[in-house]
Symmetry: C2
Subunit: 397 residues, 2 copies
C-alpha cells in the first residue's frame, strides 16, 4: 500500500494553499533543491565536460525513460526523455507516417490539446497538399478509423474534461485497419494506470511537469513499441540519436532502438529535478494512486454539486471513464477561478467556460478536497466572484 | 575596457584544472547555484503555476534572446531561446525553405557540425525525392551558390579547426542569387563579434552551453531577421508560438514576429541558469573578448609549435580567419588528450586526429595558457601519452 502521508511529506506545499492544479504544474518535491545544488556545484562545477560520462548525464534520457516507463506499462528500454511535448508529438507523428507511406490522413479529435493539432498540421502542410489532418468529435473517432487513415493521433485523457478514450479498443480497431497509433499521455502519466505494452500501442508521448512533478519546462518523453523501434527512421534525426554520435560522421545512421529518438543535447538541470521528482514515484503504486484519485474526485463532485448552484459537471460522471481531474462549466468561470485563487485554492480555467481541478493523491488528501469545496461554495453562493478585479483576463505571454 | 580579472572571479574553477574546453561546455558561473535555489524554492515552490506570470517565466525566452542578441548584432526582439540547437536548425531550414518554394536544394559544407547535416537531411527526406542536401568542401561554398540553391546552411566557425566563413560576403552572394541563409553560431556566440544585422543575415541559430556558459543542456536560440519574421510560417508550429496560446483555438495562427518561433513549454530551470550566466556577459565587451582571445590563441600556437614536435596546426594561421579555438593534428591525439586531461589540462579530441583547445577570456588568462602549453610539451616530448590506459576510447553514450 502506498503511504500517501509519506509522499505528501516529500513535497514543499506553501502554507495556506490548496493546490488543485498539479495537472498543469506539479509542486516542488523537497529533494529537488539539493539535487540541483549537487548537479550544479559537484557535477557541472567540478567535473565540467567530463560530467557527461562521470556523472552519467548522457544516460539520463534513457534512465529517466525507464523510470517513467514503469508508470505507463512500457517495456524496459522503450522510453526516452527529451525535448518538449510538442516536439515529441511532431517526431512521433512524422515517424509513424513513414511506417505507413501509402496513406496520407492523420486522424485526431477536437478534444485533443491544440498544440498537438498545430504540430501535426504544420508537419502535414510541409509534406504536401495530398496530406490531411482530419479532426472529428471525440465520440466519432471510432467510426472514422478506416483504411484511409495513416496515423491515429489522440490524447488519452481530455485536457479540459478528463474524458478518457479507450486506448485498448481504439488501438485494436486502428491495427485492424492498418493504422499506426500515437497516444499523448500528458494527462495520463502519473494520473491513471496506463498499459502501453498491454494495449499494443505503437507510439506514445507525454510531459513530465504535470502529474510527474518534474518542474516548469521539464522535458517530455516518447515511447516506441520495441517491435517498431528498429524499423523507425526517426524524424528529427539529431546527433544524439546517431549510432555513433562522437564519430562525427557526415551521414546519419540511426542508433539502436529507442536511442534513435534522441535529438540534441539533453537538459541536464531539468533532468536532475525530474530525477528527484521520480524518487517520490518510487514510493507509489499506480493502482493505489488511481483508487485514491477516484475517491477524491467523487468526493469533490458530490460536495460541489450539493453546494454550488450553476456549476454543471463537464467531466464524465463515470469515474472509470475519467482521468484524475474534475471540470465544471460555469459562465463566470474565469472570474470565479480568480476569486478562488485569491482565497488560496488553485485550480485553473480553460476557455470558454471550464473551471478545472486536478486531484493528485501524492500530495492532496480528503481534508484538502473538503476545504476547497467549502471555499468554492462560499464564492458561488455569495457571488464573491462578481468583482471587477477578478474579471480582467491577464495576458499570460 | 572589460575587467577580465573580475569576470574570471565570477566562475567556479576547480583547483588544479586548466580548462580549455569552454567551447564544448562552459564552466559554472558562481551565481548559478543561488539562482537555481531561488527559482526552485521561491518561484516554483511558492508560486506554483502562477510563476508563469508572477516570476516572469513566460518572458524568459525573449528576454534571454535579447541579451544574447546584443552579443551577435541582432536587432531587439529578433532572437528567442528554446529547444536544442538541432531542433532550431531544423526549424530554421524548414522555415527558410518555405520562403523559397520553387527551389529544392540546401547547400552546406562538410565542415558543418554533423547534427546540422543530419537534421537537414531528415527534413529533406521527408519533403520528397526532389529535395537535395548538397554538401561541398568549405572552400567550394562560394562557387556553388547559384540560382538553383534555396537555402545556404553554414556554421560560421568550424567546430574542429576554428576556420571562419565570411558571413557578410557569403550572405551578400547568397542574396544576389536569391538564396536564403541559415547561420549556425554555435562556435561564434560569445567567441567572436557577430553582426547579424550588419551582414543582412536571414536566419541564425546557436547554442548557449559553450561560450555563453549556460550549463549542460542549456537551450538553443534562433534569430529571424525582422524583415522576414512576420512573413515566416514557422515549421514546428507549437502552441507557445501561437498568437493566443491560452485561447486554445483548434487552428494555428502564428504569433507576432519572433514569438512565432517558440514551440513548447520553455525549460525554466535551464533558463534560470542561463540568466545567471548572462550576467557575466553584462560585464564584457565583445571587442575586448575578441582582442584577448587572439592574444591567447597566438600565444598558445607559438608555444606549442616551439615545443611540441609532431603537432601540426589544424587551425587557420591568420587569427582574423579563426574563431576562439586552436586545433592541432596529431596521430596519437586521442591518447595525448587523455594524458593531458590526467594532468589537469582539459581540451577535447575530435575524430580522426584533432586535439582541440578553446580559449575563453572571461576565465582563461595568459598564465593558464602558458602552463597548459608547458604540460602539453612535457607529454609530447617525453611520449607520456604512450600508455595503454590513455588509448582506450571510452564510449560516451
Amino acid at each position: 500500500m502506498t503511504d500517501f502521508k509519506a509522499t505528501k511529506a516529500m513535497f514543499e506545499l506553501p502554507e495556506g494553499i490548496l493546490y488543485l492544479d498539479g495537472n498543469s504544474l506539479g509542486p516542488l518535491p523537497k529533494a529537488v533543491d539539493a539535487r540541483l545544488h549537487q548537479t550544479a556545484t559537484q557535477e557541472w562545477g567540478q567535473m565540467l565536460i567530463t560530467g557527461w560520462n562521470k556523472a552519467g548525464w548522457m544516460g539520463l534520457p534513457t534512465g529517466l525513460g525507464d523510470r517513467i516507463g514503469r508508470l505507463i506499462g512500457a517495456e524496459e528500454g522503450s522510453v526516452v526523455v527529451g525535448d518538449t511535448l510538442s516536439i515529441k508529438v511532431y517526431q512521433a507523428v512524422a515517424s509513424a507516417l513513414e511506417l505507413n507511406p501509402n496513406r496520407k490522413v492523420v486522424l485526431s479529435d477536437n478534444g485533443n490539446f491544440p498544440s498537438d493539432l498545430y504540430m501535426a498540421d504544420g508537419l502535414l502542410r510541409s509534406l504536401g497538399a495530398e496530406y490531411e489532418l482530419r479532426v472529428v468529435a471525440p465520440e466519432e473517432v471510432a467510426e472514422n478509423i478506416t483504411e484511409e487513415i495513416a496515423v491515429l493521433m489522440l490524447t488519452e485523457v481530455d485536457y479540459r474534461t478528463g474524458r478518457m478514450h479507450d486506448m485498448k479498443a481504439l488501438t485494436e480497431l486502428a491495427h485492424a485497419n492498418g493504422v499506426v497509433t500515437v497516444w499523448d499521455l500528458a494527462h495520463s502519466a502519473g494520473a491513471i494506470p496506463v498499459d502501453l505494452a498491454g494495449c499494443n500501442a505503437d507510439f506514445a508521448v507525454g510531459c513530465t511537469y504535470k502529474y510527474l512533478n518534474g518542474g516548469p519546462g521539464a522535458p517530455a518523453f516518447i515511447y516506441v513499441a520495441p517491435r517498431l523501434s528498429d524499423r523507425v527512421r526517426p524524424a528529427l534525426s539529431g546527433w544524439l540519436g546517431h549510432e555513433a554520435p562522437f564519430a562525427f560522421d557526415l551521414d546519419y545512421r540511426p542508433g539502436s532502438g529507442i536511442e534513435r529518438m534522441r535529438v540534441g543535447t539533453p537538459p541536464v538541470l531539468q533532468m536532475a529535478a525530474l530525477s528527484a521528482a521520480m524518487d517520490v514515484w518510487d514510493m507509489a503504486e499506480m493502482a493505489d494512486v488511481r483508487a485514491k484519485s477516484i475517491e477524491l474526485t467523487e468526493l469533490f463532485i458530490a460536495k460541489v454539486e450539493a453546494t454550488c448552484p450553476g456549476l454543471i459537471l463537464a467531466s464524465t460522471r463515470d469515474p472509470a471513464q475519467r482521468g484524475s481531474q474534475v471540470s465544471f462549466h460555469f459562465a463566470e468561470g474565469y472570474a470565479a477561478m480568480q476569486a478562488l485563487i485569491a482565497r488560496g485554492v488553485i485550480g485553473d480555467f480553460r476557455a470558454p467556460d471550464i473551471m478545472r481541478f486536478g486531484f493528485t493523491p501524492l500530495y492532496v488528501d480528503e481534508n484538502d478536497v473538503e476545504q476547497a469545496a467549502e471555499i468554492l461554495a462560499d464564492i458561488i453562493t455569495n457571488n464573491l466572484w462578481d468583482q471587477p478585479e477578478y474579471k480582467i483576463r491577464q495576458r499570460v505571454t
